[in-house]
Subunit: 249 residues, 2 copies
């Protein structure tokens, strides 16, 4: 659903200006991009693009969640990234032979700004300052993936769930913390690469080890220090660690 | 051990010129880099740098293997990348706040070219064409990590080992194939994020499913098509898939 009222024009401009990539563009390029932008609302499960497609658009998420994923022939999904408000989706295709290396779909009703990928490709090619901003953006994504690979190889399932919860705590170092899960448990399980049963068992183990309670989408962490000690024993970082994925896009 | 004979100077120049990054540099910058390069031989387990260090050098591998890894306080290692001949190590630090985001050590006796990272950082900042080459380099690394995350989340241990073996087959589509493992089995197990016991069990399962025989460092694949069908059932790609990590650095 494409919406072009004056109010939405302002929302779009503000959202774009808050990103590191848009800020690094020349005035001409950023004006062109803004002028070609479209605010759209998409329902859960709507497809943005398929792995292997040639890209036409990239997206800025205003609200909701977009999952970037790869899918086997049998329909099993590996979530590569869950992208939330203030972050771009599909902006790396000009660096990847103009082909989508993953699929992307709306994981939870999303409002997005859709932007022509050709303008982004041109800005990278023509503008050194913008190419440096893209380098920073890709390096940040690579670092975030590196952390994930480390976790997948070294942390047990309960530690990985604990790590996911710690990432929602905004660096609060100790004490008690109440949380609301940002999206559904089955999506979190898929994101962490776990089957539903493994996920449920691991939540019980996490409770036994750290007293963390998960009831529906509410979480109580009675002792953040206890949780972080348990989680970070399986990691090269210590909480609060740098989370490049939480920086602005 | 630093070696500066005339023969080694030629080897160094040839090796640098064969890389995509060096080829994208201006003549002045590439000459400066070459003039400051040093060929070194390092024994197994020698440390190149530690996670968190400020970088002084980056490296081009001429022979042997360098493991890029992250280590927990208890000494568990997650291998992020195994870097072989023709590939760079540590070249991304100028994009990562001039800090090593991983440690690196020689996994198998290695001959390396050591190059000052400051010259690389300057080339990225000053030369648009070179920044674009770095973008291509980082995007390729990110894509390779994406594939690994997919495998870690979706493939079973036996499929992951089979995938590792397929990657050594240079895209041969079918028929029989004999292989020599590129490095030791325990290193392969660590790279794939498996304990030794899991690795041994998975090799047996792989044999039962695909008739692949592993004896010491020798592997016989009697039917590549059977192996690839077994492996790729857990993946969004089909063999022979694009392996960005096998492209030149």
């Amino acid at each position: 659903m494409y919406d072009a009222t004056a109010e939405n024009t302002t929302t779009t401009l503000n959202a774009l200006q808050a990103t590191q990539l848009f800020g690094a563009m020349s005035e001409t390029a950023s004006y062109q991009l803004f002028a070609a932008s479209q605010k759209i609302t998409m329902d859960k499960d709507s497809l943005l693009y398929l792995q292997g497609d040639n890209p036409e658009w990239f997206y800025l998420v205003l609200s909701g969640w977009v999952k970037v994923f790869r899918e086997t022939f049998d329909g099993d999904e590996a979530i590569i990234e869950l992208v939330g408000a203030g972050q771009f989706v599909g902006e790396c295709t000009p660096l990847e032979g103009n082909t989508h290396t993953c699929s992307a779909a709306v994981a939870d009703k999303a409002v997005l700004i859709r932007l022509p990928i050709s303008l982004l490709g041109a800005a990278i090619k023509e503008d050194h300052k913008f190419a440096l901003a893209m380098l920073e953006n890709v390096a940040k994504k690579r670092l975030s993936q590196m952390k994930e690979i480390e976790g997948l190889k070294l942390q047990k399932a309960d530690q990985r769930i604990g790590c996911f919860l710690l990432q929602q705590c905004n660096g609060q170092p100790s004490g008690e913390r109440d949380l609301t899960l940002p999206y559904g448990k089955s999506l979190i399980a898929t994101q962490l690469g776990m089957q539903g049963e493994t996920f449920s068992r691991a939540i019980k183990k996490l409770r036994n080890a750290t007293d963390v309670q998960v009831t529906k989408n509410k979480v109580t962490v009675p002792d953040l220090k206890k949780l972080s000690e348990f989680v970070c024993a399986g990691c090269s970082n210590q909480y609060p660690c740098k989370t490049p994925e939480s920086d602005k896009a």
